[in-house]
Symmetry: C2
Subunit: 191 residues, 2 copies
Protein backbone atom coordinates (compact mmCIF):
# COMPACT_ATOMS: atom_id res chain seq x y z
CA UNK A 1 0.00 0.00 0.00
CA UNK A 2 1.39 3.41 -0.99
CA UNK A 3 0.68 6.60 0.92
CA UNK A 4 1.17 10.23 0.02
CA UNK A 5 4.33 11.80 1.45
CA UNK A 6 4.84 12.23 5.18
CA UNK A 7 5.77 15.93 5.02
CA UNK A 8 2.33 16.94 6.30
CA UNK A 9 2.83 14.81 9.43
CA UNK A 10 6.52 14.97 10.32
CA UNK A 11 7.87 16.88 13.31
CA UNK A 12 11.34 18.38 13.32
CA UNK A 13 13.56 18.29 16.42
CA UNK A 14 14.69 21.77 17.52
CA UNK A 15 16.51 20.69 20.67
CA UNK A 16 16.73 17.56 22.73
CA UNK A 17 17.92 17.33 26.30
CA UNK A 18 18.69 14.30 28.49
CA UNK A 19 16.62 14.76 31.66
CA UNK A 20 17.01 11.32 33.28
CA UNK A 21 19.57 8.52 33.04
CA UNK A 22 18.40 5.24 34.54
CA UNK A 23 19.47 1.61 34.41
CA UNK A 24 17.38 0.80 31.33
CA UNK A 25 15.67 4.05 30.40
CA UNK A 26 17.29 7.29 29.30
CA UNK A 27 14.69 10.02 29.07
CA UNK A 28 14.92 13.03 26.75
CA UNK A 29 12.74 16.10 26.61
CA UNK A 30 12.62 17.29 23.03
CA UNK A 31 11.18 20.44 21.55
CA UNK A 32 9.74 19.82 18.10
CA UNK A 33 8.25 21.92 15.33
CA UNK A 34 4.81 20.65 14.35
CA UNK A 35 3.65 20.49 10.72
CA UNK A 36 1.79 23.80 11.25
CA UNK A 37 4.96 25.55 12.46
CA UNK A 38 3.95 25.60 16.12
CA UNK A 39 6.13 24.03 18.78
CA UNK A 40 5.46 21.16 21.17
CA UNK A 41 7.36 19.13 23.79
CA UNK A 42 7.91 15.38 23.44
CA UNK A 43 9.04 13.01 26.19
CA UNK A 44 11.12 10.16 24.82
CA UNK A 45 12.32 7.09 26.71
CA UNK A 46 15.38 5.86 24.83
CA UNK A 47 15.62 2.06 25.04
CA UNK A 48 18.39 -0.10 23.57
CA UNK A 49 15.95 -2.55 21.97
CA UNK A 50 15.39 -6.27 22.37
CA UNK A 51 14.93 -9.59 20.61
CA UNK A 52 12.32 -12.23 21.37
CA UNK A 53 11.75 -15.72 20.02
CA UNK A 54 8.90 -18.22 19.77
CA UNK A 55 10.36 -21.73 19.79
CA UNK A 56 8.16 -24.44 18.22
CA UNK A 57 9.40 -28.04 18.13
CA UNK A 58 8.74 -30.77 15.56
CA UNK A 59 5.65 -31.89 17.49
CA UNK A 60 4.13 -28.39 17.49
CA UNK A 61 4.96 -27.73 21.15
CA UNK A 62 5.98 -24.18 22.13
CA UNK A 63 8.23 -23.27 25.03
CA UNK A 64 7.25 -20.16 27.00
CA UNK A 65 8.56 -18.68 30.23
CA UNK A 66 6.70 -17.53 33.31
CA UNK A 67 8.37 -14.55 34.94
CA UNK A 68 7.49 -11.99 37.59
CA UNK A 69 7.27 -8.50 36.10
CA UNK A 70 7.64 -5.83 38.77
CA UNK A 71 6.14 -2.97 36.66
CA UNK A 72 2.79 -4.78 36.37
CA UNK A 73 3.23 -6.70 39.67
CA UNK A 74 2.26 -9.99 38.06
CA UNK A 75 3.72 -13.25 36.81
CA UNK A 76 3.32 -13.20 33.01
CA UNK A 77 3.60 -15.96 30.42
CA UNK A 78 5.93 -14.76 27.66
CA UNK A 79 8.14 -15.86 24.81
CA UNK A 80 11.85 -15.89 25.72
CA UNK A 81 13.27 -12.40 25.23
CA UNK A 82 15.96 -10.03 26.31
CA UNK A 83 17.51 -6.65 25.75
CA UNK A 84 20.35 -6.20 23.31
CA UNK A 85 23.76 -6.33 25.03
CA UNK A 86 25.02 -3.29 23.09
CA UNK A 87 23.61 -0.77 20.62
CA UNK A 88 23.66 -2.28 17.15
CA UNK A 89 24.12 -5.86 18.40
CA UNK A 90 22.95 -8.35 15.79
CA UNK A 91 19.32 -9.00 16.66
CA UNK A 92 19.28 -12.62 15.51
CA UNK A 93 22.35 -13.33 17.64
CA UNK A 94 20.59 -11.71 20.62
CA UNK A 95 17.52 -13.89 20.02
CA UNK A 96 19.69 -17.02 19.85
CA UNK A 97 21.47 -16.07 23.08
CA UNK A 98 18.23 -15.36 24.98
CA UNK A 99 16.60 -18.59 23.78
CA UNK A 100 19.60 -20.59 24.93
CA UNK A 101 19.99 -18.77 28.26
CA UNK A 102 16.34 -18.89 29.27
CA UNK A 103 15.24 -22.29 27.90
CA UNK A 104 18.43 -24.19 27.02
CA UNK A 105 17.12 -24.60 23.47
CA UNK A 106 19.08 -24.10 20.27
CA UNK A 107 17.42 -24.02 16.85
CA UNK A 108 18.51 -24.95 13.32
CA UNK A 109 15.77 -22.96 11.59
CA UNK A 110 15.13 -19.23 12.23
CA UNK A 111 12.40 -17.10 10.69
CA UNK A 112 12.21 -13.33 11.21
CA UNK A 113 8.54 -12.64 11.94
CA UNK A 114 8.68 -8.84 12.21
CA UNK A 115 10.04 -5.93 14.24
CA UNK A 116 7.54 -4.30 16.59
CA UNK A 117 7.47 -0.79 18.04
CA UNK A 118 6.16 -1.64 21.51
CA UNK A 119 5.26 1.88 22.67
CA UNK A 120 6.03 4.40 19.91
CA UNK A 121 4.13 7.10 21.80
CA UNK A 122 6.78 7.31 24.50
CA UNK A 123 9.66 4.88 23.93
CA UNK A 124 12.06 4.03 21.12
CA UNK A 125 12.03 0.32 21.93
CA UNK A 126 11.97 -1.99 18.91
CA UNK A 127 11.69 -5.75 19.54
CA UNK A 128 12.69 -8.13 16.75
CA UNK A 129 10.47 -11.22 16.79
CA UNK A 130 11.66 -14.61 15.55
CA UNK A 131 10.19 -18.07 15.10
CA UNK A 132 12.70 -20.83 15.93
CA UNK A 133 12.23 -24.41 14.73
CA UNK A 134 14.21 -27.68 14.55
CA UNK A 135 15.06 -27.39 18.23
CA UNK A 136 17.69 -29.15 20.34
CA UNK A 137 17.76 -29.22 24.14
CA UNK A 138 20.66 -28.06 26.31
CA UNK A 139 21.41 -26.35 29.62
CA UNK A 140 19.72 -23.10 30.75
CA UNK A 141 21.78 -20.12 31.93
CA UNK A 142 19.36 -17.47 33.22
CA UNK A 143 20.75 -14.13 34.39
CA UNK A 144 21.65 -14.00 38.08
CA UNK A 145 18.58 -11.96 39.10
CA UNK A 146 16.18 -13.68 36.68
CA UNK A 147 13.81 -16.35 37.99
CA UNK A 148 11.98 -18.17 35.25
CA UNK A 149 9.68 -21.13 35.03
CA UNK A 150 9.60 -22.93 31.70
CA UNK A 151 6.21 -23.99 30.28
CA UNK A 152 5.71 -26.27 27.28
CA UNK A 153 2.31 -26.44 25.60
CA UNK A 154 0.78 -27.09 22.16
CA UNK A 155 1.00 -24.16 19.72
CA UNK A 156 -2.80 -24.16 19.29
CA UNK A 157 -3.30 -23.89 23.06
CA UNK A 158 -0.91 -20.93 23.28
CA UNK A 159 -2.77 -19.18 20.43
CA UNK A 160 -6.06 -19.81 22.27
CA UNK A 161 -4.58 -18.25 25.42
CA UNK A 162 -3.63 -15.15 23.41
CA UNK A 163 -7.10 -14.88 21.86
CA UNK A 164 -8.86 -15.42 25.20
CA UNK A 165 -6.83 -12.78 27.04
CA UNK A 166 -4.95 -15.22 29.29
CA UNK A 167 -1.67 -14.15 27.65
CA UNK A 168 -1.37 -10.36 27.94
CA UNK A 169 2.24 -9.66 26.95
CA UNK A 170 2.08 -7.76 23.64
CA UNK A 171 5.22 -9.23 22.02
CA UNK A 172 4.01 -12.74 22.87
CA UNK A 173 0.57 -12.11 21.33
CA UNK A 174 2.19 -10.66 18.19
CA UNK A 175 4.59 -13.61 17.83
CA UNK A 176 1.95 -16.29 18.41
CA UNK A 177 -0.57 -14.77 16.00
CA UNK A 178 2.05 -14.01 13.33
CA UNK A 179 3.57 -17.51 13.54
CA UNK A 180 0.37 -19.23 12.43
CA UNK A 181 1.15 -18.61 8.76
CA UNK A 182 4.32 -20.73 9.21
CA UNK A 183 3.27 -23.28 11.84
CA UNK A 184 -0.22 -24.02 10.47
CA UNK A 185 0.31 -22.92 6.87
CA UNK A 186 3.14 -24.00 4.66
CA UNK A 187 5.00 -20.68 4.54
CA UNK A 188 8.80 -21.07 4.68
CA UNK A 189 11.20 -18.16 4.80
CA UNK A 190 14.09 -19.20 6.99
CA UNK A 191 17.04 -16.84 7.38
CA UNK B 1 -4.44 -23.82 31.50
CA UNK B 2 -3.56 -24.08 35.20
CA UNK B 3 -0.10 -23.41 36.57
CA UNK B 4 1.49 -24.19 39.89
CA UNK B 5 1.58 -21.28 42.36
CA UNK B 6 3.65 -18.19 41.66
CA UNK B 7 5.45 -18.15 45.01
CA UNK B 8 8.64 -19.49 43.43
CA UNK B 9 8.72 -16.54 41.02
CA UNK B 10 7.33 -13.52 42.86
CA UNK B 11 9.46 -10.62 43.99
CA UNK B 12 8.59 -8.55 47.05
CA UNK B 13 9.02 -4.78 47.13
CA UNK B 14 11.24 -3.60 50.00
CA UNK B 15 11.31 0.08 49.09
CA UNK B 16 10.31 2.13 46.12
CA UNK B 17 11.50 5.64 45.36
CA UNK B 18 10.35 8.15 42.72
CA UNK B 19 13.48 9.17 40.80
CA UNK B 20 11.96 11.06 37.85
CA UNK B 21 8.66 12.83 37.21
CA UNK B 22 8.00 13.59 33.56
CA UNK B 23 5.03 14.59 31.43
CA UNK B 24 3.95 11.01 30.75
CA UNK B 25 6.43 8.85 32.61
CA UNK B 26 7.04 8.68 36.33
CA UNK B 27 10.06 6.52 37.06
CA UNK B 28 10.59 4.57 40.27
CA UNK B 29 13.64 2.70 41.44
CA UNK B 30 12.50 -0.23 43.54
CA UNK B 31 14.48 -2.63 45.66
CA UNK B 32 12.95 -6.10 45.60
CA UNK B 33 13.58 -9.40 47.33
CA UNK B 34 14.07 -12.21 44.82
CA UNK B 35 12.61 -15.69 45.33
CA UNK B 36 16.02 -16.87 46.63
CA UNK B 37 16.11 -14.12 49.27
CA UNK B 38 18.69 -11.98 47.50
CA UNK B 39 17.98 -8.38 46.58
CA UNK B 40 17.81 -6.66 43.19
CA UNK B 41 16.92 -3.22 41.77
CA UNK B 42 14.03 -2.70 39.36
CA UNK B 43 13.41 0.37 37.22
CA UNK B 44 9.71 0.99 36.68
CA UNK B 45 8.13 3.55 34.35
CA UNK B 46 4.68 4.23 35.75
CA UNK B 47 2.24 4.98 32.94
CA UNK B 48 -1.44 5.91 33.31
CA UNK B 49 -2.57 3.38 30.67
CA UNK B 50 -4.44 3.76 27.40
CA UNK B 51 -7.28 2.53 25.24
CA UNK B 52 -7.16 1.73 21.53
CA UNK B 53 -9.84 0.75 19.05
CA UNK B 54 -10.03 -0.98 15.68
CA UNK B 55 -13.06 0.39 13.80
CA UNK B 56 -14.48 -1.92 11.09
CA UNK B 57 -17.49 -0.77 9.06
CA UNK B 58 -20.30 -2.84 7.53
CA UNK B 59 -18.30 -3.22 4.30
CA UNK B 60 -15.26 -4.60 6.13
CA UNK B 61 -13.26 -1.36 5.81
CA UNK B 62 -11.00 -0.39 8.71
CA UNK B 63 -10.02 3.17 9.63
CA UNK B 64 -6.43 3.66 10.77
CA UNK B 65 -4.39 6.79 11.48
CA UNK B 66 -0.96 7.78 10.25
CA UNK B 67 0.93 9.76 12.87
CA UNK B 68 4.52 10.92 13.42
CA UNK B 69 6.03 9.24 16.47
CA UNK B 70 9.02 11.20 17.76
CA UNK B 71 10.48 8.32 19.85
CA UNK B 72 10.97 6.15 16.74
CA UNK B 73 11.33 9.16 14.37
CA UNK B 74 8.83 7.69 11.89
CA UNK B 75 5.28 8.05 10.66
CA UNK B 76 3.44 4.91 11.80
CA UNK B 77 0.11 3.45 10.76
CA UNK B 78 -1.89 2.70 13.92
CA UNK B 79 -5.34 2.09 15.29
CA UNK B 80 -6.85 5.16 17.00
CA UNK B 81 -5.64 5.29 20.60
CA UNK B 82 -5.00 7.57 23.50
CA UNK B 83 -3.95 7.73 27.10
CA UNK B 84 -6.52 7.65 29.87
CA UNK B 85 -7.50 11.14 31.04
CA UNK B 86 -7.29 10.14 34.71
CA UNK B 87 -6.28 7.08 36.71
CA UNK B 88 -9.17 4.65 36.79
CA UNK B 89 -11.02 6.29 33.89
CA UNK B 90 -13.43 3.85 32.28
CA UNK B 91 -11.42 2.25 29.49
CA UNK B 92 -14.36 1.77 27.12
CA UNK B 93 -15.29 5.45 27.53
CA UNK B 94 -11.67 6.39 26.75
CA UNK B 95 -11.74 4.22 23.61
CA UNK B 96 -15.01 5.84 22.50
CA UNK B 97 -13.56 9.34 23.07
CA UNK B 98 -10.34 8.61 21.16
CA UNK B 99 -12.19 7.03 18.23
CA UNK B 100 -14.44 10.05 17.96
CA UNK B 101 -11.66 12.63 18.40
CA UNK B 102 -9.24 11.06 15.94
CA UNK B 103 -11.58 9.72 13.24
CA UNK B 104 -14.99 11.31 13.85
CA UNK B 105 -16.49 7.82 14.07
CA UNK B 106 -18.98 6.60 16.64
CA UNK B 107 -19.94 2.93 16.98
CA UNK B 108 -23.03 1.06 18.11
CA UNK B 109 -21.24 -2.25 18.71
CA UNK B 110 -18.17 -2.59 20.95
CA UNK B 111 -16.19 -5.77 21.60
CA UNK B 112 -13.38 -5.91 24.19
CA UNK B 113 -10.58 -7.81 22.42
CA UNK B 114 -8.08 -7.94 25.29
CA UNK B 115 -5.81 -5.86 27.55
CA UNK B 116 -2.14 -5.88 26.59
CA UNK B 117 0.94 -5.24 28.71
CA UNK B 118 3.01 -3.33 26.14
CA UNK B 119 6.38 -3.43 27.92
CA UNK B 120 6.06 -5.32 31.21
CA UNK B 121 9.83 -5.43 31.56
CA UNK B 122 10.04 -1.71 32.24
CA UNK B 123 6.63 -0.01 32.18
CA UNK B 124 3.25 -0.50 33.83
CA UNK B 125 1.33 0.53 30.71
CA UNK B 126 -1.77 -1.55 29.98
CA UNK B 127 -3.67 -0.82 26.75
CA UNK B 128 -7.27 -2.00 26.46
CA UNK B 129 -8.03 -3.05 22.88
CA UNK B 130 -11.53 -2.83 21.40
CA UNK B 131 -13.21 -3.72 18.13
CA UNK B 132 -15.85 -1.15 17.12
CA UNK B 133 -18.57 -1.96 14.57
CA UNK B 134 -21.81 -0.47 13.24
CA UNK B 135 -20.05 2.84 12.64
CA UNK B 136 -21.43 6.33 12.01
CA UNK B 137 -19.44 9.26 10.65
CA UNK B 138 -19.05 12.64 12.36
CA UNK B 139 -16.53 15.44 12.90
CA UNK B 140 -12.93 14.84 14.08
CA UNK B 141 -11.49 16.70 17.07
CA UNK B 142 -7.78 15.84 17.31
CA UNK B 143 -5.73 17.20 20.21
CA UNK B 144 -4.09 20.56 19.52
CA UNK B 145 -0.58 19.15 19.02
CA UNK B 146 -1.74 15.98 17.23
CA UNK B 147 -1.46 15.77 13.44
CA UNK B 148 -3.16 12.73 12.00
CA UNK B 149 -3.93 11.43 8.55
CA UNK B 150 -6.87 9.04 8.32
CA UNK B 151 -6.52 5.93 6.15
CA UNK B 152 -9.36 3.61 5.19
CA UNK B 153 -8.57 0.16 3.78
CA UNK B 154 -10.04 -3.34 3.65
CA UNK B 155 -9.62 -5.40 6.85
CA UNK B 156 -7.82 -8.17 4.91
CA UNK B 157 -5.30 -5.65 3.53
CA UNK B 158 -4.58 -4.29 7.01
CA UNK B 159 -4.03 -7.85 8.30
CA UNK B 160 -1.67 -8.49 5.38
CA UNK B 161 0.27 -5.33 6.27
CA UNK B 162 0.64 -6.60 9.85
CA UNK B 163 1.82 -10.03 8.68
CA UNK B 164 4.26 -8.56 6.14
CA UNK B 165 5.88 -6.17 8.62
CA UNK B 166 4.53 -2.97 7.03
CA UNK B 167 2.57 -2.25 10.21
CA UNK B 168 5.00 -2.28 13.15
CA UNK B 169 2.97 -0.79 16.01
CA UNK B 170 2.45 -3.63 18.51
CA UNK B 171 -1.06 -2.67 19.70
CA UNK B 172 -2.21 -2.40 16.07
CA UNK B 173 -0.80 -5.84 15.18
CA UNK B 174 -2.47 -7.35 18.27
CA UNK B 175 -5.85 -5.74 17.48
CA UNK B 176 -5.83 -6.69 13.78
CA UNK B 177 -4.83 -10.31 14.40
CA UNK B 178 -7.21 -10.74 17.34
CA UNK B 179 -10.15 -9.21 15.46
CA UNK B 180 -10.14 -11.91 12.77
CA UNK B 181 -12.20 -14.25 14.95
CA UNK B 182 -15.00 -11.65 14.93
CA UNK B 183 -14.61 -10.02 11.49
CA UNK B 184 -13.96 -13.20 9.49
CA UNK B 185 -15.55 -15.72 11.84
CA UNK B 186 -18.96 -15.48 13.37
CA UNK B 187 -17.89 -14.74 16.93
CA UNK B 188 -20.10 -12.17 18.69
CA UNK B 189 -19.46 -10.90 22.19
CA UNK B 190 -20.45 -7.26 22.24
CA UNK B 191 -20.31 -5.34 25.52
Amino acid sequence: MQFAGNKDLEERFIRRERVFDGYILHIDHAEVTLPNGQKAMREIANHIGASAVLPVDDNGMVTLVRQYRAPVEKVLLEIPAGKLDAPGEDRLAAAQRELQEETGLTAQNWIHLTDIATTPGFSSEIISLYLARQLSKGETHPDEDEFLSIVTLPFADAVSMALSGEITDAKTICALLMAGQYVNGGKHESI
